[in-house]
């Protein structure tokens, strides 16, 4: 019925169209069904495209299509396609979106229709981000996904939501604006007069920018994207925002949207500005190693609130991603892509389960919990598995990701590697301690009181299904990382300038 390029378009359009239909006043009963379908369709398409993706793609884009939106004069067109780096991220967005969507359907949130509508817009934006070849649309889709996050935090968030929404908005706008300026700078300075990434790459490979210019633009992009990924010390929005965000929004933002900055660094900043990247790597590595991994690691250990802890731990794991990028090597960057996928899946799972725990204990405070495993063994099993995944135990996707990053990092600097590896110990401490505190030991007084009033039920199938989807994917990639890494590897080791230079063709 459709060819693969059209399927890609359908995947992005489905959630957006569904959101539009819901906004036009579909009754609630149908809205829920339609939303469910609109989350499932992209996930199926993403899996199909994953299977269809040729192993020998190299750096080239597959499933390409291009549409004019009337900004052709500025070198902007809606150009979609996936390469080896974009494919895993696209699949990640589709799967986490499916899980977040399924979880939202049963959440019984107040004003459920609006909630689903915003979530669908977010999902459409996320799929669009990773499928965009045009960097204008790359940015555009990111903002499209970002705006619903703010609104969802503001309306459905928990305590401090107003403050959290405002802080997130301001931090992320600063980050987005800096990245936008960097992207415009690339557009103007490259002389290619196009936002098309393929053409930009060809133009810059043919005639690289002057070193100072590269340094400046890379700096702007690094901090712009860095804020969006919570690079220390610009990370403070993340724990606060995730702490306040409703679960599905936190899943999608922490799991997928946050990866936008890393993805931008890998796909745009590093390949287009190699000299600029060289200039900045040490700054990036030190900020990430000392700031994100060590300082934030210790802060995470001190957290008493489950969601805050998860927020901080996700900031910490971003440190490994930055470190992998700082190695500027194929191995390191490949590890980052793998870790991004793994972290996206595991953090989404953790945020989801945290909300499920909250439903049963009526608190996020770790010291008020205990002994939940006796009442809810399935929930405990899922949470412990997710914890193992997140601290990088073999068998889950995080392990190969972190391992390859460390291997590459050793060549970059043994000292930094030592700091980074010590972070693994830190994350094992806080994660295992949290799991023990929630599920094992004797129940606290507070929990006994809550349990007496509302006897906790174990996970029902509507909660198990999204959890299972996420965990199965984690396990699958963990056991067979080549499913992801082959495509990534062939994309990253391809020569910078593809022989098919599109410079003139896309003017």
């Amino acid at each position: 019925m459709f060819n693969n390029a059209q399927l890609l378009q359908v995947a992005i359009a489905t959630p957006l169209v569904a959101a539009l239909i819901i906004a036009l006043g579909l009754p609630k009963r149908f809205s829920v069904k339609l939303a469910g379908a609109a989350f499932i369709v992209p996930a199926l398409i993403a899996l199909w495209l994953w299977k269809e993706f040729p192993a020998d793609a190299g750096g080239s884009y597959q499933f390409m299509s291009s549409r004019a939106t009337g900004l052709g004069a500025f070198g902007i067109s809606l150009k979609l396609g996936l390469n080896g780096v974009a494919l895993p991220m696209f699949v990640l967005a589709a799967i986490v979106g499916l899980a977040a969507g399924l979880y939202a359907l049963r959440s019984g949130a107040e004003r459920l229709k609006t909630y689903l509508m915003l979530l669908l817009i977010m999902q459409g934006g996320l799929l669009g981000v990773f499928a965009s070849i045009d960097i204008f649309f790359f940015y555009f889709f990111h903002e499209l996904a970002l705006i619903p996050t703010f609104i969802m935090v503001g309306i459905w968030g928990v305590r401090d939501r107003n403050y959290a929404a405002m802080k997130m908005t301001i931090y992320l706008t600063v980050g987005a604006m800096l990245s936008l300026i960097g992207l415009i700078a690339l557009y103007v300075k490259s002389g290619a007069e196009t936002f098309d990434l393929i053409a930009l790459r060809a133009a810059l490979a043919h005639e690289p920018l002057a070193a100072t210019l590269q340094n400046n633009i890379f700096g702007v992009l690094m901090f712009g994207f860095g804020i969006l990924v919570s690079l220390w010390p610009l990370h403070t929005w993340a724990p606060l925002g995730y702490g306040a965000a409703p679960s599905s929004a936190a899943m999608l933002h922490a799991g997928v949207l946050k990866k936008f900055g890393l993805y931008g660094l890998i796909q745009i900043a590093v390949p287009l500005l190699p000299a600029g990247a060289q200039h900045w790597v040490w700054t990036l590595a030190l900020l990430a190693a000392l700031g994100n991994v060590l300082v934030v690691g210790f802060i995470t250990m001190a957290q008493r609130d489950l969601k805050q802890m998860l927020g901080y731990s996700s900031v910490m794991h971003m440190g490994y991603c930055f470190l992998g990028i700082a190695t500027l090597s194929t191995v390191g960057t490949g590890g980052v892509v793998l870790l991004m996928v793994a972290h996206g899946l595991s953090v989404a799972l953790l945020f989801m389960l945290a909300t499920s725990i909250h439903h049963r204990t009526h608190t996020f405070d770790l010291s008020d919990m205990g002994g939940l495993a006796q009442r809810t063994p399935v929930l405990a099993a899922f949470f412990v598995a997710a914890t193992f995944a997140s601290i990088g135990l073999p068998g889950f996707a995080n392990f190969p990701g972190e391992l390859t990053i460390f291997v590459a990092l050793w060549k970059f600097s043994p000292w930094v590697t030592a700091v980074a590896v010590s972070g693994i110990v830190i994350s094992a401490i806080y994660a295992l301690r949290a799991a023990a505190k929630i599920f094992f030991g004797s129940p606290s007084e507070q929990f006994q009181r809550v349990a007496a009033e509302h006897p906790p039920q174990d996970l029902d199938w509507q909660e198990r299904l999204p959890a299972l989807i996420l965990l199965a994917t984690l396990f699958f990639i963990g056991c067979w990382p080549r499913a992801v890494s082959d495509a990534v590897n062939s994309a990253l080791s391809a020569p910078a300038a593809a022989p098919t230079a599109h410079v003139t063709a896309h003017r």
Binding site: A68, T69, G70, L71, A73, F74, F136, Y139, F140, E143, L144, I147, F150, I151, G154, I155, R161, N162, A165, M166, T169, I170, T173, V174, M177, L178, L180, I181, I184, A185, Y187, V188
Partner: protein
Amino acid sequence: MSLELLKAAADSNQWWALAPEVMLACAALALLVLELVLPRAEHHKIPLFAIAAQAIVLVGVFLNFDTNWLGESTFGGLIRHSNWGQIARVFFVLSSLLVCFLATVCLPRTRMPRVEFYHTVLVVTAAMMLLAQSDHFVMFFVALETVTVGLYILVSYFRDNPLTLEAGLKYLVMGALSSAIMLFGIVLLYGAVGRVEGANGAIHTGFEFGTAAAFLQAHPDNFLAVAGALLVLSGVAFKIGAFPFQIWVPDVYQGAPTPVTAFLAVSSKAAGFAVLLLLVRNVFAPLQSVLVPVLSLMAGATILFGNLSALTQRNAKRLMGLSGISHAGYLLLGVIASFTVPWAGGAVWFYLFTYLLATMAVFGVMAYCTGENDADHELDTYDRLSRDRPFLAAVLAIGLGSLAGIPPLAGFLGKLILFIAAFQAHLYTLLAVAIVGVVLSIYYYFGWIKAAFFESWRPAFSTETATAAPRTTPSLFGTLTLALLAVATVVLGFFPGPLTSWLIGK
């Protein structure tokens, strides 16, 4: 009178070139006649006539967009017809149409006469259209004064409200001052240029844009002429509310009736920019080396002043005024860029169109959320708007989002294109200032959205009963208009093609 004479008169007849302006002026007069003729019970139909007349003019300008007069100069060199002039015509008629719509919402709440309001709006709009096409300083000044005098009346229209009267007085004093400054500048230019003998013995003066430009081209260092140019630009800066001539904005915006505030925010500002582009690209183009630093300073200070002063503002109308100052700053960026980047003028117009849609949407919502005293319009009035009137809240969010420049709304593209132009013109420092400004603006625009959407926490057993905020349910016509503005803002954000190719034509 012989037949030949009549024929010659018919051949040299240029009035058809000004058909839109003439039609608007005639419609304005017809409104007054209708008030005399129609029985009192039928008077409520007169605004509809005004709206219909403008719609006809709008369609007419559209159909005749590529008129034969383009590039021609008419009325002895007073007027020059250009593409931008046509764009300006469309813009001003569209804007005044929407102002009239706002007036149909707001005016019935008061006991003020109605017909004169529409009459004045039409006359002012016609004058703005002439202003944007003028090619002669006398034409320029007369048109500008017609606009300003009309606005003096409109600003103080609700004369039983002390805040409105205060606004009117402030606008009158500041407006008169700026007119005087501008007139002085024109006279200096005239004096510096003197009398120039043309090719076939015709006498030219510094009043003509072409002659003044030629003089400045030959003597870019002439002190009198440069001083004159700067004074003229100061007068224009008053219109657009640029620093340091912005001081009147908050009080006047707050005190003026809501439709007039919208008129000031959109039409009057756009008229300022139409004139600025006209002058900068035409008469003052040779003074680039003087004007670029002056305008750059002005733009930077305007952006910062507008955004910083809006940060803590709780009154919605003052907020619109102060944030409008910052928009003037961004637009100045485009004007400066237009010295070196030819298409930047189109970017300014594109921004103005997106600004028109968004601002009118916001004022439309404001018009439905005001009570008796529309100068008293705090952000708290919007508490729980998303529950009481979800439609109005959605339109408000789209309008404010577009003003803040958030994708996928049209305002984002407006800013993006302006920034690209500024980048190509190497205005890096100003761009950095503009980015700071955009981030600051997110704070107050989102503060407003927050007031409408995020419910403020209330104690469960609060003794004070929340006073119901004034809200009017929009009529079908009002709903359609607001929906159209919102939809246009969203659609242009996704698919700006028609507007960009029309305005920028790149």
